[in-house]
């Protein structure tokens, strides 16, 4: 593991100030306690500064009222969390050590505008691509943790997402650890063409080896989990959890509506729909997720849990 270990720079090492504040330097820092609202309301002149308007119920309130869970205080709508916010909610304080922090995409198709788009999103989000992976403890139980971020090209899966998730599985297999993945994704990253499609096979093969080793894999489906991520690692968990009302599906709603020439009901492809059809084990409220995951890890301890 010595070779592997070099690749994983621990949180404390990256926390040193650099010319630009690194993603993980800010992860657990005090100043950053207030979550930033990533989905600003539509430009509406009557919304005061520092307030947000819920896209579902239309209520206007101070950003602070969303709290670290980012749930609408009026209608309980879940705002999407970025990976930084998610890791803070799930991992025990100061326990997260990131893997492969510097991996970034190339441009296999020389697709016009792709490199620029990646660069501008890196600047905007502080991420190198759409997933963060690492190890941590959850309620005291060690686990590998991966979190996707819809703020980066709708968390589409290209080479970096595929490689980081594959390495996370390989690390978990080699170290006999359970793995917990929070998924969200628009699907395969079109700009990387067939290379993106091959990531589905690559990650699934790594998941197979983790599973054969008798280790636990938990997926938590969050809004939205679709396309090639649904059709690969999102649906391969031993236990599949979901946040309420998350959109989960293979084909996009618009594509299905065009194919069948009918409007689909609102609840189609929601987490509740999937649970009813037998594809989600349990829908868990956001505030309860760390405890539910801890409890599942505890039941499996000794089987890819705490040994």
């Amino acid at each position: 593991m010595a070779l592997l270990k070099n690749r994983y720079v621990s949180l404390n090492e990256t926390a040193e100030p650099k010319e630009k504040k690194s993603f993980f330097a800010s992860l657990f820092s005090k100043k950053d306690e207030k979550p930033e609202v990533k989905e600003p309301p539509k430009k509406d002149d009557d919304i005061p500064a520092g307030s947000v308007k819920c896209p579902d119920c239309g209520s206007i309130y101070d950003k602070k009222e969303l709290g670290s869970l980012k749930i609408c205080p009026k209608c309980a709508r879940y705002y999407r969390l970025n990976c930084k916010e998610r890791i803070r909610l799930i991992a025990d304080k100061d326990s997260f050590e990131e893997f492969d922090a510097n991996m970034q995409p190339k441009d296999p198709l020389n697709f016009p505008g792709y490199a620029e788009k990646v660069a501008s999103l890196q600047e905007k989000t502080g991420l190198k691509d759409a997933v963060i992976t690492g190890k941590c403890t959850i309620g005291g139980f060690p686990a590998v943790l991966g979190v996707m971020d819809s703020g980066f090209m709708m968390a589409s899966m290209g080479s970096v997402v595929g490689e980081k998730v594959t390495r996370a599985f390989e690390y978990a297999t080699a170290n006999r650890l359970p793995i917990v993945l929070f998924t969200c994704s628009g699907g395969a990253r079109m700009q990387e063409g067939i290379v993106s499609l091959m990531q589905m096979a690559k990650v699934s093969a790594a998941a197979a080896r983790h599973s054969e080793a008798g280790l636990l894999y938990i997926t938590v489906l969050t809004d939205p989990t679709t396309g090639g991520v649904t059709a690969s690692f999102a649906m391969l968990g031993d236990i599949i959890l979901s946040e309420p009302k998350a959109l989960i599906g293979f084909a996009g709603r618009r594509v299905i509506e065009q194919t069948i020439k009918q409007k689909l009901p609102d609840e189609f492809q929601h987490a509740e729909f999937l649970q009813e059809h037998g594809f989600v084990d349990k829908i868990v409220d956001r505030e309860a997720l760390p405890y539910t995951i801890r409890d599942i890890l505890k039941i499996h301890s000794g089987k890819g849990g705490e040994e």
Binding site: K106, G228, A231, A251
Partner: protein, 265 residues
């Protein structure tokens, strides 16, 4: 070289030989086996047992029709989850009896419909990817027309992947790609040029190991020529793969897919 979109047109020709045509020509004593033992028989996926020379094999194919009636029966080659689950059932059966698996790929993609979503299209494909990656018998997949996205990959996580000269294999149709990235499906031709979907491009990328020749204008003009080539190549490849110890076979398959990805760190 022929423009990529011209290959797309040949790959989609209604007169192009189907999976059933190849199965009938290449194998002896094919016995079709139906159903996923769960929901129903999906005619977009055919499968069964046969002999390749004197080697018992399991054969799978995604089936397109050549006329409207056949196409309605096989849903234009767009499988539902039960199609992928049938394929998986037959692959696990092949594993039990130590038979190599040969699959013929020809689909624009998995069917995007209400029933398909209700019955877990994503889960069905995901499961196939995971199980195929670990299947303890040799596997060869041949793209004979369209290799459309996850719906094609679900039968193509194989030790060897080959493509006919005028077939295509892509993350999405050029129309879908252009529609997503440029909001304009009419730019499909331009998309096809960029996407690296031809057999030549994919051989260079290492996505496939072999290109199988077709006569000018496409294999519908001389089916026997292409089918005999496939037969000859399978008769070489399958016994060679069967010689490998299972661990070696699985490690090589893992490495085959592990290598994909372009990134810096």
């Amino acid at each position: 070289m022929m423009p990529a979109y011209d290959k797309v047109k040949i790959a989609r020709k209604v007169s192009r030989p189907t999976a059933a045509d190849y199965i009938e020509h290449i194998f002896e004593g094919f016995i079709e086996l139906h159903g996923d033992r769960n929901f129903r028989d999906d005619k977009a996926v055919i499968g069964g047992i046969a002999f390749l020379g004197d080697i018992p094999v399991t054969v799978l194919g995604i089936q397109k029709g050549k006329n409207m009636e056949d196409n309605i029966a096989c849903n234009f080659g767009q499988p539902h989850p039960e199609g992928y689950r049938k394929a998986l059932r037959l692959m696990k059966q092949a594993e039990k009896f130590g038979r190599p698996v040969i699959s013929f790929i020809n689909t624009s993609g998995a069917y995007p419909g209400v029933g398909a979503e209700e019955r877990g299209q994503g889960e069905a494909i995901a499961k196939n990817l995971m199980e195929m990656a670990a299947l303890k018998v040799p596997t060869v997949s041949i793209v004979i027309g369209e290799g459309g996205s996850g719906g094609a990959l679900a039968l193509a996580v194989a030790d060897r992947v080959w493509m006919l000269e005028n077939s295509i294999y892509a993350v999405l149709s050029p129309e879908g790609f252009a529609s997503i990235l440029w909001k304009d499906a009419k730019r499909a031709k331009e998309a096809a040029d960029l996407m690296k979907i031809t057999a030549e491009d994919l051989l260079e990328l290492g996505v496939i190991e072999k290109i199988i020749k077709e006569v000018d204008g496409g294999c519908q003009n001389d089916f026997g020529f292409t089918a005999n080539l496939i037969k000859g190549k399978l008769e070489m490849e399958i016994p060679a793969l069967m010689q490998k110890p299972v661990d070696e076979l699985l490690d090589e398959r893992y490495a085959r897919f592990r290598k994909f990805g372009e990134f810096t760190e």
